[in-house]
């Protein structure tokens, strides 16, 4: 029966059936899970199933890349963002602003499935074949053939891909960076009216007052970090003294050797200075 249905040998048929079941169960799990973390894990399951099918179709390199890039990088990125945003956010599952959206979605899904299955049934891919090299050129390995294709036939696309990756990296950094001045100016100027949910005035005052300290921020920040570093070292070394007369000098000069003669001189007034910096 399997031989007739799938037109394959028994191990291949078993592999296909198991991998297909894994794929479909994982895909259903992605859609039906309430918890986004479960969705991400189910997505990994589907991706592994697809990787098995890639191996079954003699695309070994793509199977490896599928596991490494998708399951190793993309899903981890998903999980990272889920954890960053918080797992416990409630999804408004009953919201239906468009009206019968789920019914239409299922209808559209059934239509798509019927259409694609109809297309998959017939042998409609006609015309000239094999314009970019066959799969096994003189029984070379898959990696050889694919690499030769990517680095000769699709060389321009490959180079443009590198530019795309650089653009994506820069875009992600720009989007995800939290600079106070930039968020304040952009949010106060452009984004506050649409996003105004009681936080707009706070942002405005924050930026209005925050503009002046913003320019002066790097200098105290440097002193603050140095002061903290030195206080921590001093208190660990010698609890009663805990002082630093000149934070910069202590940070640069003697973290370990110099403090011995210094504490009696600056122990009186100085120790509060870096703490005030830290509290401010």
């Amino acid at each position: 029966m399997h031989d007739y249905l799938l037109a394959a040998t028994i191990p291949d048929a078993i592999t296909f059936v198991v991998a297909a079941a894994i794929c479909v169960v994982g895909a259903l799990g992605v859609v039906l899970s309430k918890n986004p973390v479960h969705s991400a894990l189910m997505l990994i399951m589907t991706l592994f199933g697809v990787a098995v099918l890639f191996v079954e179709e003699n695309a070994q390199f793509l199977a490896a890349v599928q596991v490494i890039v998708y399951a190793g990088a993309i899903v981890v990125l998903f999980l990272f963002v889920i954890m960053l945003l918080g797992v416990d956010r409630q999804e408004a599952i009953n919201a239906d602003p468009l009206g019968h959206q789920r019914l239409w979605a299922l209808l559209l899904g059934a239509l798509t499935l019927a259409e694609v299955l109809l297309l998959a049934k017939g042998n409609w891919a006609t015309g000239a074949h094999s314009t970019s090299g066959s799969l096994d050129q003189n029984s070379r390995t898959n990696v050889y053939v694919l690499g030769k294709s990517v680095f000769t036939t699709y060389l321009l696309a490959f180079e443009i891909t590198s530019a795309l990756l650089v653009i994506a990296i820069i875009g992600a950094v720009v989007l995800a960076r939290r600079t106070r001045s930039r968020i304040g100016s952009a949010g106060g100027g452009d984004l506050t009216p649409p996003f105004d949910d009681g936080q707009g005035p706070d942002d405005d005052t924050d930026t209005a007052g925050g503009e002046a300290p913003e320019t002066a921020l790097p200098e105290p920040d440097l002193v603050l970090s140095e002061g903290r570093l030195v206080t921590a070292g001093e208190s660990a070394a010698r609890p009663p003294s805990g002082s630093l007369g000149r934070p910069a000098a202590a940070a640069f000069g003697g973290d370990t050797s110099a403090p011995a003669p210094r504490p009696p001189s600056g122990a009186s007034g100085a120790p509060n200075a870096p703490k005030q910096e830290a509290h401010r």
Binding site: L6, A8, D12, C23, V24, A27, V30, V31, P36, L43, T46, V50, L53, F54, E57, N58, A59, F61, Q66, Y70, A73, L77, F78, V81, I82, L85, R89, Q90, E91, A92, I93, A95, L108, G109, T112, L113, V116, L119, A120, K121, A125, H129, S130, S132, G133, S134, L135, V145, L146, S149, V150, T153, Y154, A157, T161, L164, L165, A172, L175, A176
Partner: protein
């Protein structure tokens, strides 16, 4: 001998449909993003199947580029999601309607 190509295409169609329906049904932006990944994987499976059927390495090269573009897309999309949800409390896509006239 491997399984007939029609079965791979059928499985890809099923995966694509599940992803499309999930994209339309779910409200969580992250899960919608995962459904987009499902659809991309279904397309990749189709590419590899046709590469085998037509004995053409171009299909596998295409999958390679789809993988790269999917990675870039996920990075930028998740960056946008993080940027939006810094100012929002809910995880529902319908709350993001600031551009609605």
């Amino acid at each position: 001998m491997s399984v007939n190509a029609s079965w791979y295409l059928t499985l890809a169609a099923v995966l694509f449909t599940i992803g499309a329906v999930g994209l339309l049904v779910r409200r969580n932006v992250l899960v919608m993003f995962m459904c987009v990944e499902l659809m991309l994987n279904a397309a990749n499976l189709t590419f590899v199947t046709f590469a085998r059927t037509l004995n053409d390495i171009g299909g596998q090269s295409e999958v390679f580029f789809v993988l790269v573009v999917a990675a870039a897309e996920v990075v930028v999309g998740l960056g946008i999601i993080v940027a939006i949800f810094r100012r929002r409390v809910g995880a529902t896509a319908d709350d993001i309607h600031n551009l609605k006239g």
